[in-house]
Amino acid sequence: MKIEFTGATEGEAPLTWGQRLMWRAVHLMGPSQNYLNCPFVFPVYGRRDLSTVLDALRVLIERHETLRTTFSDAGQRISRDGVLEIELVEAGPERGLQVAGRVAGEMAHIVFDHGAEWPLRCAVVLKDGRPFALACVFTHLSVDYHALALLAVEWKALLKGAALPPVAWQPRDQATLEASDAWQARSARSIAYWRDVLADVPLDVFDHPPGEPEDPRFIEVIMESPALAVAATRLSNRLAVSSTSVVLAACAGVLGEVSARSRVVMQLVHNNRRDARTREMVGTVGQDALIVLDLLEPDFPGFCRTTHRAALQAYRNAHYDPVAMTAMREKAGGHDLDAFFNDRRAAPGWPALPPDADLSVANTRTYTENAWPGVRFKVFFTVGADAGTGRLSVIVDTAYLPRTTAERMLRSVEARLVGAV
């Protein structure tokens, strides 16, 4: 099966800042760049025939330039028309969404050929011959998770036969905006902020040399803790700072402890959609922010407020040209900056938490998974997206942080939060 699309536009433009970041990332990661691919499932709502489903997909591609873009060192190239091959998969006796999730995951294992291939691959999952879901994988050069959420809303409307307003802002417009004097000045200011931070911090996250790594070397230790979610929510309400800042403060405190440093520097994964035009753009926008925190405050609530203010500074300075930033960082000595924090929740709080969840840590469990092959982080905290689980995980390089230490770190984050309520 295939769909033929004909968009209204074509052209070329420089890469946007978000695309430049991903362009650099896919080259740094090489064959393991499939880690960056974005698998996504669009459920088919109601009883729709195959042609309706394929039509909805065609309209999405025609509307959004990012879905008919190829990438090279020279920039982004938008094609007006093209053909996308669609695979049909019969789910059999299995649950349709489960099959769709698996199909999307399998397609995500294959690296994109960014200069020659469309930035998405799709399969329609059928149940008894009727479309059940659209399983896709996108290159991260073309979308981020916010963009996927925007596409999901349009997808639902298109299946219903609704007409959508024209797309107001495309990555090409974004590239033009980023070249403007105002945005270049903003980029320069962000780079100056990073330079100031880097002038005062060691080159490496850890002072100690790497030890004998475990096998596998890179692992993700996961903690599911209702107590963490309850504590972070209560502290957030009481202190009038976001629950992100509260959990970040606890993670920073723990990182300071294991690195035996009073100053902690972390990169914050940041969605970066602060401009009203960019907010609704289907494209990749996220850039990393840099936070610096001095762990001098003895009381945790005070440190949460400090963290919240510092995070605001960090987010503000997450608008920059990654090429210029890389040049500055190399000149500054090549700091590894290999400690990260990411909050994956789409909305504040944990609204789906069981109503009887409390501060008891008796229901907390931890377990370990292998990190995605090719991931090379020293320490990477992630707040899970699930609104019903207080999920905090940490990817570690076991040459620096053994599994038992990683597990203790997560428990210590939980203890700090629960203890401060």
Binding site: S242, R274, A276, R279, R309, A311, L312, Q313
Partner: protein, 148 residues
């Protein structure tokens, strides 16, 4: 605090002249504690527990003391619109102007704050320093004071 003026909102049972409360306070307060602005109001805004709502007092102060100052009101309205835009429709300009809740309580996220600061910088052609107290502004009047 820099850029702030001490003010007093006064409720009286009987008519008094502006000089009378000042004379009363003169030997009770240090010179720097004396209110630079006096506003007579019918009643103080209170919350459901009967406590005075400070943000509301400030608003009364601005509205009455500067009733001749159309610029301030215009700036408040303009900033309230920007705050509403930055919030992506979560907060309405009226909610901002009413000042009954902090901007955080109304749902102004960190991302929206930065978006707002960007807009203010673009519109007013200035550079905002985030290292001071400004990032934690919780009402439109703090912003007005910072921009004046």
């Amino acid at each position: 605090m820099l850029g702030r003026v001490t003010g007093a909102a006064v409720v009286t049972r009987a008519p008094v002249t502006p000089a009378e409360p000042r004379t009363f306070l003169l030997d009770r307060l240090a010179p720097h504690e004396l209110p630079g602005r006096l506003v007579f109001v019918a009643e103080l805004p209170k919350n459901h527990l009967g406590k005075v709502v400070n943000a509301g007092v400030g608003r009364t102060d601005k509205e009455l003391a500067q009733s001749g100052d159309g610029m301030t009101e215009e700036l408040r309205v303009r900033l309230a619109g920007m705050i509403a835009d930055a919030s992506g429709g979560v907060i309405s300009p009226d909610e901002v102007l009413a000042g009954r809740h902090t901007l955080s309580a109304l749902g102004l996220t960190s991302l929206a704050r930065i978006s707002l600061i960007d807009t203010i910088e673009d519109v007013f052609g200035l550079e905002i320093d985030l290292s001071g107290d400004l990032p934690s502004f919780e009402d439109v009047d703090t912003l007005v004071a910072a921009l004046k």
